[in-house]
Amino acid sequence: MDNPYLPYPVRIEEITIETEDRNIKSFRVVFLNPEDEERFSYRPGQFAELSVAGTGECPIGIASSPTESGHLLFTVNKAGLVTSQLHNMQEGDVMGVRGPLGNYYPLDEMEGKNVVLIGGGFAFTTLRSTLVYMLAPENRDRFEEISVVYGARDEGMLLYKSELGAWLLRSDIQLHITVDCSDDPFCQYHIGFVPGITEQKITSAENSVAIICGPPIMIKFTQPVLEKVGFLPEDIIMSLENRMKCGIGMCGRCNVGADYVCKDGPILTLAKLNTLPKEY
């Protein structure tokens, strides 16, 4: 019997400090046993429990894409016990990864459609996975227009800056980066909140699906913008977070109504969310 609580051992290969406040770091990890990589077959939107022996586990969205083989990427905001310990770890250290867990963005069902990705703050991680996946040469033709609205507090808080620069130069995606405010008179990004920029840039819902991932306040104000343009609740896809332990629907804490965020989510459509109590 496979033990679903047993993490795969991994080695931290590279740590990148993502943000100016040094509170968000990306961890590139490689499996110690190559056969574990095959068993860890994942899709954009899924998460994993990062395990630090002696401290515990925490659920983190997978920021790498299945099209990038050889490693996994996790972008971690320092917030609690395990994430703080992770931030103290160094390249070469051994930790554990348990997963992949949860469901994933319904990218197969989105074939032939326009895709709108809306992300805010450090919730851009699984959207990075999605974007890298869709932009891979073997996948790009499966989708029509790809638009991205990504916002952060200021320039220093944007994740994956070198990749953002490269994506801005591509003609096959519309990337709109915005910051809440900036001291820089020559700021190269939009200035304003995500809902406002979404309203300016996303003007049609025709044949489109939107994925929103961000802080609750951003979601709260972006949702009506999308609905005004004509997005149906079935076509607005969100990723939820709740406190988790087991990640496999057994420990009982992350439920929203009868659904467990870890097993039945984290990806839920707005249509589904409308049928559930607001316990997230």
């Binding site: 609580y5 022996a53 515990g56 609690g80 057994m250 009982g252 109504g257 009868a258 049928t275 559930l276």
Partner: protein
């Protein structure tokens, strides 16, 4: 199904023989409280109890259980790599489990043994344990098993069911595991028809003694959001002090926490019982808490047992009517009353602003 009998005076011999091939667990009296414990001396088993204070769920989901072990010494082999903690899964027999508690194990199976994931520790403990149930001839006043799909002599989840008849037990052998245990016990004789008739009369009489009832018939059809937004939760939660005794005693409460414990350069990952009554259960690292208020936690407990479980598994309510939470709640919150409020609820989905 085989019908056998054993006289009470031979029962200790039976238990002693079983000890050769099983680790025995049974009800043991400590002061006024009976609880399930490992049996060293078979005379410790006390079958005169109504029900144990704690449910025997801890034999399958221990209150604290080692999951993994690891070393933290960087010079050591495989430092920071988790290894499964070794455990004894030799055959175990639980003597005298009540039918409600056995049925509870079946209800909890739905959570731990799923098509997607199997909890290895729960599944192994279940597979290696034989349950010898003891029917209830004198149920408590708070028992309501007969209206939640069970009964004082219900055989769900059991391998053998014993009915006490004066100086003997009638044993119904219900499963292969039960057959094996009876074989190891080796003293049972076929039960004569008269004894079986006597047993049936006792069983019917016992069921008649259970007068406390709940109606669960409408729970599945009522809208989740309507129930969730019902105004009666305010009254239900008013007296609750979130002590967690209900979840602690409940045979179908399975929620757990996972924690790492270290001592020097070695550590283990543990799982411990947890409770939806505690704010920490759902507290995010950000400080946000989706069930930060008491009313939300009280509602969660009842909604889980009487609505979410019903909808998810289609196996009825996650309550076996053992009455422990009713007896021991310090502020007299009564699941039967809450179930009635839920089942009779006619309200609509509240408007969310």
């Amino acid at each position: 199904m085989k019908l056998l009998k054993i006289s009470k005076k031979d029962f200790s011999d039976v238990l002693n023989r079983l000890k050769d091939s099983y680790r025995l667990y049974g009800p043991v009296r400590k002061g006024n409280i009976v609880d399930f414990a490992p049996i060293e001396d078979v005379s410790d088993i006390d079958l005169s109890f109504q029900n144990s204070r704690l449910s025997p769920k801890s034999l399958f989901l221990p209150q604290s259980e080692r999951m993994f072990e690891y070393g933290l010494d960087p010079a050591g082999d495989e430092a920071h790599i988790l290894k499964e903690a070794s455990k004894d899964y030799s055959p175990k027999a639980v003597i005298g489990i009540r039918p409600c508690d056995a049925k509870a194990l079946e209800l909890v199976d739905a959570n731990f043994d799923t098509p997607e994931f199997r909890d290895p520790w729960w599944v192994k403990a279940r597979e290696t344990t034989t349950l010898v149930g003891l029917g209830c001839t004198s149920p408590c006043s708070t028992c309501f098993c007969t209206t939640v799909g069970g009964g004082p002599f219900d055989d769900a989840g059991l391998d053998v069911l014993l009915t006490e008849i004066n100086d003997a037990f009638l044993a119904r052998v219900l499963t292969e595991k039960g057959e094996k245990l009876i074989k190891a016990a080796n003293t049972f004789e076929p039960a004569e028809e008269e004894l079986v008739q006597k047993a049936t009369a006792i069983e019917q009489e016992a069921a008649g003694k259970i007068v406390s009832k709940v109606d669960t018939s409408r729970l599945a059809e009522i809208d989740t959001l309507a129930l969730h937004g019902a105004d009666f939760w305010e009254d239900v939660q008013f007296a609750c002090i979130n002590c967690g005794i209900c979840t602690y005693l409940c045979p179908t409460c399975w929620c757990f926490d996972i924690q790492d414990e270290t001592h020097g350069r070695v550590g283990c990952r543990m799982r411990n019982w947890d409770s939806c009554m505690f704010p920490l259960f759902t507290l995010h690292a950000s400080g946000h808490n989706p069930r930060g208020q008491k009313i939300q936690r009280v509602r969660q407990r009842f909604m889980h047992k009487l609505k979410y479980y019903v909808d998810t598994y289609k196996m009825g309510v996650a309550c076996v009517g053992c009455g422990r939470c009713v007896q021991h709640c310090p502020v007299n919150i009564d699941i039967r009353q809450v179930c009635r409020l839920m089942n009779e609820y006619e309200g609509k989905v509240p408007k969310v602003s």
